[in-house]
């Protein structure tokens, strides 16, 4: 019965869940949101850099390329990203192997723990590394006490090493998730077959397993490269004045030199790079979406045997803890330390307004601002996310299940698609376009987006320059891919028969959505909402440009503290970072608790 029921399984669900008019309305809302708050600001940047005086001129761009300073910036951006990526992949691969092939106590806890950095704001990570490795950091203080030194022995602050380390910290978990999951789905029998044919364990890995893993490794590497390439907060804080990625340079040109045309020209170069990389990534991701042979975890994993394997596993886990947990602990410890002893001073200072000035708001107001923005972002991105995911879900019923390796099924789906051509095939086209377009903001640098908002949304009819809505809109754009990718797997897991069964039992399309779709994706909605919340809480790149001075968010407040001299200011930055870290970690724990599917979706 297989192919017949497949042929017809999607018929009603796709056709009449929503009236054509309703669907058109949803497209209109989604597209106008993207056009107004994504494409329009980006084109404004293009206009500013390429058509500075009303006519097209490539001069700003060519001048940029001929100026060695900006070439050096580009070169630094590329090589630090490449080196960071290489380091991340090399350090994470043994971890991937362990998670893919071994089963050990506490595995799920450690897996969850390694993912925390993914949701930590860049400001928090920067301060965490300063707390660990900076001149007044935990490591230097300990070494000074131990070796009775007057000067900190390690000078990592404002070097490329600390930037690289922070990038590894950030992206380790991405490689672990993407490659590790792919690896665990790979049958170990392939490798065992190679060993039975006489190759050594190492050779079997090199000649059989690694080649099979290449698509996953490549996809992970490209994604990590994109994140490192557009790195902003980490480089700004940890790199100091000596280092600048394109992203940092755009920020400096905008904020310090008010040279918007130059910033726009730099943005164009950045956009070209990230879009190219994003295209490569989506292509690679499509190939990893087809596991070679899906195996249950139980069949591929075992306890480590013998002291070598145990040492390998324990050693790697120790590395993960040192790399991923230590900086966070250092931040907590430093924020609670004043003059060598335990103190809550920094936290208390957050609530004070020392100058008693009306302009100077107590730092804790930033917490209120951030939570307010985050809640608004959650609301907007969840509504848009539900619309987008429902739209993409319809597409999945055709394109998506063609991945099932059955020609009969694939054939029946083409059949379906054809049979419906006369009726709104262009809607189908539009839908196919929507998926990559929705992912675009993930690959767009936040600073560029912020710059676009400044350039584009400051004149009627869209004068939002002084409106707090600007921050919410920017955060929603950044959060939307996360929300959509959280909801979509849940929505796709709903068998179309459930909707049909509800319809047969008398449920109208709206009742079907309320009674079947909504409750089943409820958990995923929580995940998406929490994702949006943490993204908004931590967003720094766009916010640093568009937030009003009198309405700073937490990351912006942290950055301001860093710009001021004195232990108390620095201490308050630590304290606020710790608060932010706690909020994001709690949010993350909720995500892990409720999520359907994995980070692999990204």
């Amino acid at each position: 019965m297989g192919n017949l029921s497949e042929r017809s399984a999607r018929g009603w669900a796709a056709e009449s869940r929503l009236s054509s008019l309703g669907r058109l309305l949803i497209y209109a809302i989604l597209l106008s949101f993207l056009v107004l708050f994504y494409f329009y600001p980006l084109t404004a940047i293009l206009r500013l850099s390429l058509i500075p005086e009303g006519r097209l001129s490539l001069e700003p761009l060519t001048k940029l390329i001929r100026t060695s300073r900006y070439l050096e910036t580009l070169w630094f951006t590329v090589w630090q990203a490449a080196l960071s990526t290489l380091l991340t992949v090399l350090l994470a691969l043994p971890g991937c192997y362990i998670f893919a092939r071994y089963d050990f106590p506490g595995k799920s806890v450690i897996r969850a723990l390694t993912t925390v950095p993914f949701v930590l704001p860049t400001m928090v990570v920067s301060l965490a590394f300063t707390s660990l490795l900076g001149p007044r950091g935990l490591l230097n203080v300990a070494l000074m006490q131990l070796l009775r030194l007057d000067q900190p022995p390690l000078n990592l602050q404002h070097t490329v090493f600390i930037i690289l380390l922070a990038h590894v910290f950030y992206n380790y978990t991405l490689v672990l998730r993407i490659v590790g999951t792919y690896w665990s789905n790979l049958s170990p029998q392939v490798e065992e077959a190679a060993r039975m044919l006489g190759s050594s364990r190492w050779r079997a890995i090199r000649e059989v397993t690694l080649p099979l893993l290449i698509p996953a490794i490549a996809a992970a590497a490209v994604l990590v490269f994109i994140f490192d390439f557009t790195s902003f907060g980490v480089v700004l804080v940890l790199g100091g004045p000596r280092f600048a990625t394109l992203e940092v340079e755009i920020y400096r040109q905008t904020v310090h030199y008010l040279n918007l045309p130059l910033a726009a020209a730099l943005s164009v170069i950045q956009i070209l790079f990230t879009f190219g990389l994003m295209a490569v990534y989506t292509r690679l991701q499509a190939t990893t979406a087809l596991p070679i042979e899906l195996r249950s975890r139980r069949a591929t994993q075992r306890r480590p045997q013998g002291w070598r394997q145990q040492l390998f596993v324990v050693g790697n886990l120790a590395l993960m803890v040192v790399l991923l947990v230590l900086p966070m602990l250092a931040l907590l410890e430093r924020s609670l330390t004043l003059g060598g002893g335990f103190s809550l001073t920094f936290y208390r200072e957050l609530f004070r307004n020392p100058r008693g000035s009306a302009f100077y708001v107590p730092p804790v107001a930033a917490v209120r601002n951030s939570v307010g923005f985050a809640l608004a972002t959650v609301g907007l991105s969840v509504v848009l996310g539900i619309m987008a995911a429902s739209t993409l879900d319809g597409q999945a019923t055709r394109g998506g299940s063609a991945q099932v390796n059955s020609s009969a099924v694939a054939e029946s789906h083409t059949k379906l698609a054809h049979s419906r051509r006369p009726r709104g095939w262009w809607l189908l086209r539009l839908r196919r376009l929507l998926d990559p377009v929705l992912m675009l903001p993930l690959g767009t640098s936040a600073v560029t987006l912020g710059l676009g908002y400044i350039v584009a949304l400051d004149e009627p009819p869209l004068d939002l320059r002084t409106s707090p809505a600007l921050v919410v809109l920017a955060h929603t754009l950044v959060a939307l891919p996360f929300v959509v990718r959280s909801i979509l797997p849940a929505l796709r897991s709903i068998q179309p028969q459930l909707r049909e069964a509800a319809a047969i039992l008398g449920a109208s399309p709206w009742s079907v959505w309320r009674e079947v779709d909504l409750p089943i994706m409820a958990r995923a909605l929580v995940v998406g909402a929490v994702f949006a919340f943490t993204v908004s809480m931590g967003e720094f790149g766009a916010t640093s440009l568009i937030a009003r001075p009198e309405r700073p968010t937490m990351p912006v407040a942290i950055f301001r503290f860093l710009g001021r001299p004195g232990t108390v200011n620095y201490g308050q930055a630590l304290a606020m970072s710790t608060l932010l870290m706690l909020v994001c970690t709690v949010g993350f724990l909720m995500i892990e608790r409720f999520r359907v599917g994995g980070l692999e979706e990204f």
């Binding site: 028969q497 509800a502 009742s511």
Partner: protein, 354 residues
């Protein structure tokens, strides 16, 4: 009185050339109609056309004489039990069974009463608060049945109702299901690819092949007088011989000239060629009865309630028969004298017809 459901010339085609062509059917009130056919014959498509989940290219669906062809599925008041049941995983047993009642706008008291009643009907008293994900296959099947029965649908459609169950459970439910359905007094269309299931459940069976209904009748009529060689083979009747009608109720075949008491075809067109179906229960061990043939035993297997015997005629023709378990059969290689009951022989349509 008008029939409950009437299909008139339903057509549905797909771009790959697959078509459901010109299906017309009548289902009487309180009847259980079985739709039987191999994979891909169009029975599920037909079910979906009736339910409104698919829309026909042309043709009419009439319920109580009223045209419902363009009515949305949720307004038809039908019930459909899906092959894999499609129970709502986020609702408990009560929530599943109550769903249709809630959609019909019944008040809470009525719903509770009706759910209890329906669960009792399918033998699941006290299951209201159970999690549907924790139920056994048989229990899930009953919940699905209760869910479709609860709103008292005009017409209940079952898609492979027993297909997902293990053998022992199937056997039991083949008895229970028709009893439950008759007690509920509902009109039913049941789709299956399994002949035994269709025969056990249905009052009448519609046999489908390649998008067409090829024969409709009671299970007995189908079995005794299949209209074509293809139908006979689909029903597991493999003894088909070329035959020439030599006189009224008399045909000549390679195993001899045989008396035939059931016509199957219209009249006796003496001199014409035909196909003779020899049903497996036709043979008895006898040296004196009518239609005597001698066969060499090539295989003999004991199945508990009956013997399955394979034998070869000297002409090379292979035949299979069933004997009751009490009969003693000779070992492989021996020759056996059999008599073929003329009432268990049927003429089929011509050779080429499907």
């Amino acid at each position: 009185m008008r029939p409950l459901l009437e299909l008139r010339n339903l057509n549905k085609s797909y771009p790959d050339g697959w078509t459901l062509s010109d299906v017309s059917l009548i289902v009487e009130r309180r009847e259980i109609l079985g739709l039987l056919g191999p994979s891909g014959c169009g029975k599920t498509t037909l079910l979906r056309l009736i339910s409104g989940l698919e829309i026909a290219d042309s043709g009419t669906v009439l319920v109580d004489g009223e045209d419902v062809t363009d009515v949305a599925p949720h307004r038809r008041g039908f019930g459909l039990m899906f092959q894999e049941y499609a129970l709502f995983p986020h609702k408990d047993v009560f929530g599943n069974v109550a769903f249709g009642l809630r959609m019909a706008g019944l008040d809470a008291g009525e719903i509770a009463g009706r759910v209890t009643e329906t669960l009792a009907l399918v033998g699941l008293e006290g299951f209201e608060r159970r999690d549907v994900n924790q139920l056994s296959g048989g229990e899930r099947q009953r919940v699905a049945l209760a869910r479709s029965l609860a709103p008292e649908p005009k017409l209940l459609m079952l898609d492979e109702p027993l297909g997902a169950l293990d053998r022992a459970l199937r056997e039991r439910l083949m008895d229970e299901l028709p009893a439950i359905l008759h007690r509920a007094g509902v009109t039913v269309i049941s789709v299956t690819h399994d002949q035994e299931e269709a025969f056990a459940i249905s009052d009448r069976v519609a046999l489908m092949r390649s998008g067409e209904v090829v024969q409709i009748g009671t299970p007995q009529a189908l079995y005794r007088q299949p209209r074509s060689t293809w139908i006979a083979r689909f029903l597991g009747l493999t003894n088909v011989l070329n035959a020439k009608i030599v006189a009224v109720e008399r045909v000549r075949t390679v195993v001899g000239t045989l008396d035939v008491k059931s016509p199957g075809r219209d009249g006796w067109d003496v001199g014409s060629e035909a196909q003779l179906l020899v049903r497996p229960e036709a043979a008895s061990v006898s040296k004196s009865g009518p239609n005597r043939v001698n066969l060499q035993v090539t295989g003999c297997s004991f199945r508990g309630m009956h013997w399955q015997l394979d034998a070869r005629h000297k002409s090379g023709v292979e035949l299979s028969f069933i004997f009751s378990a009490g009969v003693d059969l000779p070992p492989v290689g021996e020759t056996l004298a059999l008599s073929l009951n003329p009432r268990a022989l049927t003429l089929l349509g011509d050779k080429t017809q499907a």
